[in-house]
Symmetry: C2
Subunit: 343 residues, 2 copies
C-alpha cells in the first residue's frame, strides 16, 4: 500500500475561552518529502505540552506567541524514533530528543541545526518522557531559576507555586537538594499530596482552599527567602506578603495571566519590595542555552541518584492533542504534560 503518509497538526480555528474540542486542531495527511544528505526522519513518540499551549490559540491572552488558523503547532520538545537516516551518526531505531519543532507524525530533522539540539537518548536512563521534562526545557527552566536566579542557601525557605507542575516540581526538588526547606502551592488535595509524598516538599498548601492565605503563613513560619513564581494573581500577592527582607523572587511564569483574563487584580504592590529590599528577576531559558550541557550533566546525575524524581502525565492518541491541552489548563497534570503520538 506504499509508504505511510505524514500527519501534520495545524490550527483549525481559534476557540472561545474554556476547554477545547477535537476540532480546534486539524490533522491533515501530507506527503513525505525525500531526505537531503545529513537529514534524518523521526517518528514522533512523545511531544511536550507546555503552559503556553492554550494561550497560543487565545487571541486575548497576554502571551507573546500567537497562532492563526492554518498554522502548524509548535512544541518545545519531542522524543522520537529514527525511521530513515541520511546521517552517518544516526541509525534506524535510534531514539532521539529534539527541541523547538512542530507537531507532526514524521519530522525531518537536520542534526546540524543548533536550535533543535538533536541528541540520541538512552532508554536505559529512564522513561523516554524524562527527556521532555526533568531533562528537557522545563527541567532546564527550573534549574536556571534555582541555581542561577534564586540561589537558595541551606536553611532558607523556598516557596514554589504550581508546585505539582513540570517546572515547579523540579525546582522544588533542586531547592531541597541545595539544603532549603521547600513549601509548595498547588491546586487540590491530590496534587498537594503528590508534591509532599512524591517530590519530597516539606509542605504543600492548596490555593483553592478557603483559608489559603492563613494556611500558607502557617506553612512558612520563618517567612519566605526565595519565591519561585509560576502563577501570578492572588497567589502571587499572598506569597509577597510572606517575603523576608533581602528575599529573591524568581519570575519564571504567570500562568494565571495566560488565560486572557489579565493578572487577576494586578501585580503585587511593589512597596513591599522596597520595605523588604527584594530582588525580582525575570528570565527566559532561551537566553541561557550555553548553560544547557552543564544542566544536562547535573540533572542526569540527580535523576540517577534519586534526588530529582521525574514525573509526567501522558495523554494519548495522535489526533487528541486537545485532551493534553485540556489536562494542562484544567490543572489535572502532575509533572510534565505530554502528548503521546505513537507507541
Amino acid at each position: 500500500m506504499g509508504e505511510p503518509s505524514n500527519i501534520v497538526v495545524r490550527v483549525d480555528h481559534l476557540p472561545p475561552p474554556g476547554p477545547i474540542g477535537q476540532d480546534v486542531y486539524a490533522y491533515p495527511a501530507e506527503a513525505l518529502v525525500p531526505l537531503q544528505p545529513g537529514e534524518i526522519r523521526v517518528e514522533t513518540l512523545f511531544a511536550a505540552v507546555d503552559a503556553g499551549a492554550r494561550a497560543m490559540i487565545d487571541p486575548h491572552a497576554a502571551y507573546p506567541m500567537k497562532l492563526r488558523p492554518g498554522n502548524r503547532v509548535p512544541t518545545s520538545a519531542i522524543v522520537g524514533r529514527v525511521v530513515e537516516s541520511r546521517n552517518p551518526a544516526f541509525r534506524d531505531g535510534d531514539h532521539v530528543r529534539a527541541f523547538l519543532t512542530v507537531r507532526q507524525r514524521f519530522l525531518v530533522l537536520d542534526p546540524a541545526t543548533p536550535h533543535h539540539d538533536v541528541k540520541r537518548v538512552d532508554p536505559a536512563d529512564g522513561p523516554l518522557h524524562l527527556h521532555l521534562g526533568a531533562l528537557g526545557m522545563t527541567g532546564f527552566t527550573a534549574w536556571l531559576g534555582i541555581t542561577e536566579i534564586g540561589r537558595p542557601h541551606g536553611g532558607e525557605t523556598v516557596l514554589v507555586s504550581a508546585a505539582a507542575g513540570a517546572v515547579g516540581s523540579v525546582a522544588g526538588q533542586l531547592a531541597k537538594a541545595a539544603g532549603a526547606r521547600v513549601v509548595g502551592i498547588a491546586g487540590g488535595t491530590e496534587k498537594c499530596r503528590a508534591v509532599v509524598e512524591r517530590f519530597g516538599f516539606a509542605a504543600c498548601v492548596d490555593y483553592k482552599s478557603p483559608d489559603f492565605v492563613a494556611a500558607l503563613a502557617e506553612a512558612c513560619p520563618d517567612g519566605v527567602d526565595v519565591y519561585f513564581e509560576n502563577v501570578g494573581g492572588a497567589v502571587q500577592r499572598a506569597a509577597f506578603g510572606l517575603m523576608n527582607v533581602f528575599g529573591r523572587v524568581v519570575l519564571c511564569g504567570q500562568v494565571s495571566g495566560y488565560s486572557g483574563d489579565g493578572a487577576e487584580g494586578g501585580g503585587p504592590d511593589l512597596m513591599i519590595a522596597i520595605g523588604k529590599r527584594l530582588t525580582l528577576r525575570g528570565y527566559l531559558s532561551s537566553d541561557h542555552l550555553a548553560e544547557f550541557p552543564r544542566f544536562e550533566a547535573e540533572m542526569l546525575q540527580r535523576v540517577r541518584d534519586g534526588s530529582v524524581v521525574p514525573s509526567a502525565t501522558i495523554t494519548g492518541g495522535l489526533t487528541n492533542l486537545h485532551e493534553a491541552v485540556n489536562s494542562l489548563t484544567g490543572g489535572r497534570n502532575i509533572g510534565q504534560q505530554i502528548h503521546q503520538m505513537a507507541d
Copy 2:
C-alpha cells in the same frame, strides 16, 4: 529673664486625608536639660521634610513608621548651630549636620552616637541646606540607586519619576554624569521646566497631561534601560510598558501608595518582567551606611564641579511644619523640601 526654653514638635492629632492645618502639630515649650560630658546642644536651623512625613500621621497609609498623638516628630536630618558644648571637638558657633533626630528647637546630641553621624559642615561648601539634600540622606538614596542598583551605562536611557524631587533630581544628574540619556517624569509645567533647565535632563514629561503615556513613549524613542521608581501607580505601569529587555528597575519609593489610597490599581503585571527579563530591586539607604563616606566624597566633588546642582524648597517659621508638609504632599517643592526653624 533666664535661658531660652526648648520647643518640641509633637503630634497633636491624626488628621483626615488632605492638606493639614497648623493644629496637627503641637509646639510645647519644655525645659532645657543640662548637658552630660561629651554632649553638645544644637539650635536647629533647617530640618529635612521627606516623602514619608504625611504618611507617618495617616493611620491608613501603607508606610512602615506610624506616629500617635503626643509622639515627638522625627526627621531624617537637621543642620544647626552649636550653642553649648561639653565636647572638645565642637565649639559654640560651629555648624553641624546630624541624622535621625527629632524636630525641636534645641537638640542635645552625643557625637559618639553612630546613627546621628554628627559632622561639622563648612558654610563655604554652599548653602547649609545642601547637607540635607544632595549631601544628605536623599542624595545618598539617589546615589545608591544609580551607582549600586541601576548602574546605567553610557548611551542607555534612564527614566526617573518624581524627577523634580529631592531624590529624583539628584538621581537623574548622576545618571547623566554616567553618560546616560536621562528622561524625567514630573507634575506640571513649572517642575518639568526645572527638570530640564536646572537639572539638565534631556526631556521631562508631565504626568498630569492627558496624553502622558504617548508623550512618555515619544520622549523615550529607544525605550528605557533603567527606571528609577519613586511613585508607583499609573506612572509605574506606563514606565514598565517602555522597558527594554534586560532592563533594571530601581525600587526607591512609591509616593502614590503613601497617601493611603493603595497603589492606584495595583502594581504592574509582572508578566512584563518575565518577557523582558527585568531585574527589579528594592533597597533602603539605611542598609548601606558603610558606603556613606564614599558617597560624601564623590558628591561633594560633584557639587563643587557643578555636575550635580543641589536644590531646595524652604518654608519657614518654627511652628509652621504643616506648611512644609503641605508643600511636599501638594507637589509644590522642587528639590529637597526643608523646614527652616531659625535664622
